[in-house]
Amino acid sequence: MSIISIRNVTKTFVGITAVDNANIEIAANEFFAVLGPSGCGKTTLLRMLAGFETPTTGEILIDGVDVSTTAPNKRPVNMVFQSYAVFPHMSVLANVGYGLKVTGVPATETRQRAEEALEMVQLAHLAERKPDQLSGGQRQRVALARALVKRPKVLLLDEPMSALDAKLREQMQLELTRLQEEVGITFVIVTHDQDEALSMADRIAVMQSGRVEQIATPEALYESPDSRFVADFIGKVNLLDGQVTGAADQGVTVDVTHLGKVTVPHSGHAQGQVSLAVRPEKIRMTVARPDSGLLVQGRIVDWAYYGDTSHIRVQPASGPPMSVTVQNDTRSTIENGDVGDQVWLSWRAEDTLVLDR
């Protein structure tokens, strides 16, 4: 049973289509992420769920009720804003209790529930502080507690981590996942950060210029993207352009420049111009010519050291350079090669994807 049904929703502002015929079903207790580059319409979609925008066409159902034109204060959803929007003139406790106070919950119950919510986000000791005496991470927790205290059916989060530094971001990601399991309500998070979406969400919708490109689990999105855009947007990918020359048993044969005719597994239907996609970490880099797999020879042109991994760019005889990610699994990785060395790149046919061009 879906808690949220977005059916054929389109939103046009003067002259531009922000959301183009979106269809999304979100299950109860799911941690759902909407991922896309800035301007792809993901925030507009979230604002339609919250009630700050009304769909131009289509309908939005929350828990089976059509809320397409319901006012924001009448919806069983609450939102954590990008700026956190903590009320600056109220104490932390008053902020958290605000949503209960304005809806007529008695003062004693308001106080008790607000204190419980603050405990849940580990801020009980700061209840009397004013927001300007809090750090960014603490303000975010106030915003979370303030939304969760209302016991919404769905919690909406708009780019919640964008104002936090890297370490705090990682900590909050874990914390959000824990909270979601603890309170057992549906979380819908909007983000442009693929790591955030991949690490937290149960399912992800990838959006591009108003359209929903693909909805899938993080693993499926990364390993089996439907389109070039998704493959390119989630993680890094090497794309090799080629021409389908024939269908084999459970696969297709593709003619690729400086790779020759290769047969790769493919379940769908492919013909004409296609791209072979392979992730940088699926590629092995060796000095000697390997015996099997898809092979490309080239010269190392760039070597970026990241501590745990190294990102290397290899220029084949023709075409664009290819990216390779190497695990630095020993302390001495220099023997793997250096800029200017001739190397062989190899990967398995089953790690290759066939995408329409």
Binding site: N73, F87, H89, Y98, G99, K130, R146
Partner: protein, 278 residues
């Protein structure tokens, strides 16, 4: 260890002697006349030239000058009504300009601010012509006889309030309003609990401005007042035409003190951390 020669830090302007001297000169030019006026209100002499000893008799004299007291009460009444009406009107205009989009908005904004740039003398003449043209009734009982002056004051002071409040609202994070709605508050509750507390320092500043503008306005008042409706600045002007007596000084000192008290009270209201807690 080498001891550095103590010198003025590059950005420590207040430490430079020429800067201090400049501050001093500015300060004296600004406040010496006011302090002198206050000092000579206690001078035991008919003229404001030579100090002849301390006295408070001119305060007593001013207090017993019925014409002066009446003008003073008129001024305070006009200023009080003007402050209330101009603040409400100005705040509404500011909210309208901040909140809504409508045709000819920028034109409206410009016209609204015109009274600030129009020379006061023109406003005065215009008001005089307007009130006589429409035949505004004169000779009404107090305080209705002050209505023309009050209307004129409201007309030129509410744009100041609107501009102050508008500037304050420009810094308002619209997500606060959305957060309030999202948490279940109606539009009215959102205004009361979120927008109004944010607006309050602007309202206080605007009200203070409207109060002092009205209290010390001479030009526009001079054109709209009749023989029965004399305000404090107009009365002082007529007294000074004969001679500057310490009586005028005494009355002016009281006015300065009242203005300072009002300013201090209002600044206290909008002290950070005090404003707007429920």
């Amino acid at each position: 260890m080498r001891v550095l020669r103590r010198w003025v830090d590059p950005l420590d302007y207040a430490g430079r002697i020429w800067m201090r001297a400049f501050f001093g000169v500015v300060f004296i030019l600004l406040y010496a006349p006011v302090v002198l006026m206050m000092a000579f209100s206690f001078n035991d002499s008919k003229r404001n030239i030579v100090w002849r000893g301390f006295t408070t008799k001119y305060y007593e004299k001013a207090w017993n000058n019925d014409g002066l007291i009446e003008a003073f009460i008129n001024s305070l009444t006009i200023a009080a009504i003007n402050t209330i009406v101009a603040t409400i009107l100005g705040a509404m205009v500011a909210l309208l300009l901040w909140r809504f989009r409508f045709p000819f908005k920028s034109a409206y904004e410009g016209f609204m601010a015109l009274p600030i740039v129009i020379p006061e003398i023109c406003m005065g003449v215009a008001m005089l012509a307007f009130f006589s043209r429409i035949g505004w009734p004169t000779g009404l009982p107090w305080p209705l006889n002050l209505s023309a002056i009050t209307i004129a004051h409201i007309a030129f002071s509410f744009p100041f309030v609107a501009i102050v409040v508008r500037a304050r609202m420009a810094g308002f994070n619209r997500e606060l309003e959305e957060a309030s709605r999202d948490l279940g508050a109606s539009e009215w509750q959102t205004f009361r609990h979120v927008i109004f507390p944010y607006m309050r320092p602007g309202l206080v500043g605007g009200a203070l401005l409207a109060f002092t503008l009205s209290l010390d306005d001479f030009v526009i008042t001079f054109f709209t007042s009749g023989p029965e409706t004399v305000t404090f600045p107009v009365k002082v002007y007529s007294m000074v035409r004969f001679s500057v007596t310490p009586e005028v000084n005494a009355a002016s000192t009281v006015l300065v003190v009242i203005t300072l008290i009002v300013a201090a009270l209002m600044l206290r209201v909008q002290r950070p951390g005090q404003g707007g807690s429920p």
